[in-house]
Amino acid sequence: MLRVALRGVRAHLVRFVLSTLAVMLGVAFVVGTFTFRAMLSSTFDEIIATTLVADVYVRGAEEIDDSTTAGSTFGTPHSPVPVSLADTVAGVDGVARAVPDASGPIVLVAADGTAVTTSGPPSIGIAVGPDEPTVTLASGAWPVGPAEIALEESAASAADLTTGDTTTVVLAGAPQPVTVTGVFAIEAAAAGTILVGLDPATALATYAPDGTVPTISVYAAGDVSEEVLAERVAEVLPAGAESLTGEAVREEARQGVEQILGFIETFLLVFAAIALFVGAFIIANTFAMSVRERQREFALLRALGASPAQVFASILAQAVAVGVLGAATGVVLGRVLVSGLRAVFGSTGMELSGRVPLSATSVVVAISLGVLVSVVAAAVPGRRAALTPPVQAMHDDVAPDRGTGTRAVLGLVLTVLGAGLLVLASRLGSSASADPTGWALVDDLNPRVLLAVGASAALVGVLVLSPAIAGAVITVLAVPAVAAIRPLGRLARGNVTRSPRRTSNTAGALLIGMALVSATGVIAASTQASVRSIVDEQMRADYVVQGAAATGALPPGVTDAVTGLPAVGQALPLRLGTLDVDGEPSGATVVPPGFFTEALDAPVVEGDPDQALADGEAVVRRTAARDKGWAVGDSLTLTSDDGTRTQDVQVGAIIDTQVISSDLVLADATYADVGATEIPTYAVYVTAAPGTSTTELRAALTEAVKPFLVVSVLDREELANAAAAQVDQVLVILYALLGLSIVIALLGIVNTLALSIIERTREIGLLRAVGLGRLQLAGIITIESVLTAVYGTVLGVLTGIAIAAALPGVLAEQGLTSLAIPWGQVLAVLGLAVVIGLVASVWPGIRASRLPVLEAVTVD
């Protein structure tokens, strides 16, 4: 029987090629994800191993809220330690050197006069010199004094600068002319980070102006183990500081990286799973059709004494062959993909680790997945084939399509259930009261879980329901084609609707992809609309001065440069600090009094925010108040990060805005009592002086921030656009990932068309015999293809929009307040469906029109 099965695959190779292709793409995605993660992992391991080389690290014992640290260190950020502690530590027996680690943001101006920007990684200034173990001089000399810098090799090429060139850097907010004295190398791949070397004194002066640094690196002299040295150093440390072995810090850093990579991996695997799921549709369809077509062959085998189990096994054997072949090629393709990705990253300046590792585990997992998906997909049609009585199989030309009654009921129930859950999720999420339905059991449900379950149920429901409604829906969709292209439209419609189950399965693959695409589109559009309406409704200031890189802090000098301008009425800096609230690390937004009158009109839940700031009280966000049970008049205990200063502050007002992301807002004076003196400014809200036009103000501001290079001046419109542009970037990535499942769905349409043409050979022969031209035949197949694609897309888009419509309710607190359906984009997606249909029909159309009429007529 195995031989029969394998001969079957060989005899009908084309039929299986597309299934194999579907498995291959899905598996390639999985392998690609694993490999990409492993590559990133090894890249970061290298970076960690070559940058965290000290034997012992000294840092503050307190963990701090990491929302404001600019990601300059790996792992959990801790409170800083005084630079002077380095001298104390250096005196410990066995310590060769103790170096305060001063590094931070820098702006480097390239040879063409513009600031060097990257697609994400920061520009960082680090201390370099002959004593620094992580860097080696490649050419030139180490910088000495604030007027000299050295550049890491990839930074030098990104900026097109070399030894001897003069340029400008923005250090501590002040632009200053510098000379490049040398080029240095680091052992690890820089992964896109622009590294600028400063002499250690300059680095300390720049990045530790308050005399504290995040860590002190301690290097051992002679044969002292890291553990012993860490213990010895610990003995001389004051309270609030701790010493760790290098290995412990490296491990912590690795775990931090692994955690982030784990998120990325999970994220990518979700899309891989979608691709495989879509692929399973194609495989199921292929086997369903091939089984129907070969019913006589199975009947013959049964008549010759093969048991149903043997027939079933022979079909499964084919599925395994498809799975193994698809998965094996998929593994290769996945690896090639990652190599390609690496080249792409490399060409955009992000050097990644040279190794593209392919672990045995991921190969085994990928191949098992491929086989599993094909076997599961083939099992249902296989079982049907095995159980068909031989006589019936011998008799029937084509077995009739089974009824869709049960599926209709089941599908309807699931769809309605899903829709109900989505409505409920939306209600629960958006409700202001604690018990929107009055039933404790229901009110306690998590809206996000409801949303996920509801969305899945709705999607599966529509998939199950699809065969029952395909006929009616396609009849409607086909109206233009039937009316405009006679009689081809009618013939094509008949072909698409005659087997609703098959059409639904074919369209199902596209349905899933398109549902996700349109849901994503709606979410993106809604997010952009929400951002826009928030900016429109809440922004009071005329302009916002902020860093060009959306997440970056402003150089320190900007506030002063802006405040002094005659055109400026008010300049209100928004700073972010860290502290402990009731013992929990937290971020705080720090603003001057008057902020909520002049800069931001935040919706007020209770109290008067400006008055609260003026009175030295805290303003808290509604969500924080709800989650932590804070009410106006409550007292909060604020403690500085190092635990040395404590103060009780009353909650003075509750606001509900998405512009501010931290739990509480404090006035400058209040924060000064419990926080660090130097905290980064993220934006300066500016209003025009009386009698000054906004145009004049803009010109003045633009001129004032020009020396800082990476600072931009945005009005409301531009602020909204900048936020919208970020959404667009994410959107592009999501679309690219979803694109794969759409390509697979396209293959599915090709597959179904090709197989249905084989099934319909005689009918095609008949049509050709009574005078149907080749182009007309190709036209019928094209219309079929387009109808199938549009059907899947229409259903998918409707489902996607329905799912996304529930999101503003659930995600209102994340700033998604209004629902916007991008109709233009929906039309574009429908247009895309037509294109997919056209593309998918090319090969089957050519194949069909090349069928010799006589053979088609006289075929058995």
Binding site: P487, R490, L491, G494, E763, R768, V770
Partner: protein, 271 residues
């Protein structure tokens, strides 16, 4: 009912040798709907070559039902396929209604099939997704020619399917399906209708219905029908029966009875 037209052909029964020089002039006599000269069709090459048609000369007269008979492998289907432009002959000429079929491009052939030729096959004659009426007008729809309602009604009336027009093929009996196929073959007023074993899959009652209709289409509607069959009863409906053996026409009977046909077949087997 009009009287059956008298056969202008040679007195029956007779046997005409083939392979000799064409006895007929290159251009066929008046009243010929389709004709072929020195038609040869070979399959395979070298040692394994099979001559399916071995120099056939034949005329199909207009307004006549001609049956082609012969044992399996005699070349009768090949003759029909070559006549109908479904297959291209190795050599020789085929002319339908004044058009030389053997010289046409694929595109022209397709156009010829939908305007000048009607087909009825043994089985699978109808497009399952179309109703009976849509199946009947299919060739006109394909050619984008408006349906002649009067002719359509006449044809449909003659097949006796008036009340089944809006049914799908799956809701019709085998005989009804075949009558729909006949109506389709006639609806474009073709020069010739080729029917390939039209009763091969039918019981005797349905066969009689279909054959009766084909005969009436000739007698009453003035159509020309060429029918391949191996059933003597079916052939007995014809005005004229041609016998094919090993790719040659071996007998030509005019208005034969079933007995005449059986006799000729018997003789052919003795040869």
């Amino acid at each position: 009912m009009e009287p059956a037209p008298s056969s202008p052909g040679p007195p029956a029964p007779t046997r005409s040798g083939t392979g000799a020089a064409p006895a007929l002039p290159p251009d066929a006599p008046d009243g010929t709907a389709a004709w072929a000269r020195d038609l040869v069709k070979t399959y395979g090459q070298g040692e394994t070559v099979v001559r399916a048609l071995d120099g056939v000369d034949v005329d199909f007269r207009a307004a006549e039902l001609t049956a082609i008979m012969g044992p399996s492998g005699s070349g009768k289907s090949t003759l029909m396929h070559c006549m109908a432009g479904l297959d291209s002959p190795t050599s020789g000429r085929v002319v339908i209604d004044g058009t030389e079929v053997s010289r046409l491009s694929q595109r022209r052939l397709t156009a010829l099939r939908r305007t000048r030729i009607g087909f009825v096959f043994q089985s699978y004659n109808l497009v399952p997704t179309l109703t009976a009426a849509e199946n009947i007008t299919l060739p006109l729809d394909i050619a984008r020619v408006p349906v002649d309602r009067a002719w359509f009604d006449e044809v449909v009336g003659a097949v006796g399917l008036g009340d089944r027009l809006h049914h799908r093929p799956s809701e019709l009996s085998g005989g009804q399906q075949q009558r729909v196929a006949c109506a389709r073959a006639l609806v474009s007023r073709p020069s010739v209708v080729f029917a390939d074993e039209p009763t091969g899959n039918l019981d005797s009652r349905s066969s009689a219905e279909v054959l009766g209709f084909l005969r009436r289409s000739v007698d009453e509607l003035g159509q020309t029908v060429v029918m391949v069959t191996h059933d003597p009863r079916a052939a007995s409906y014809a005005h004229r029966v041609l016998f094919l053996t090993d790719g040659r026409i071996t007998a030509d009977l005019a208005a034969p009875t079933r007995r005449d046909i059986l006799d000729t077949l018997g003789q052919a087997e003795e040869d």
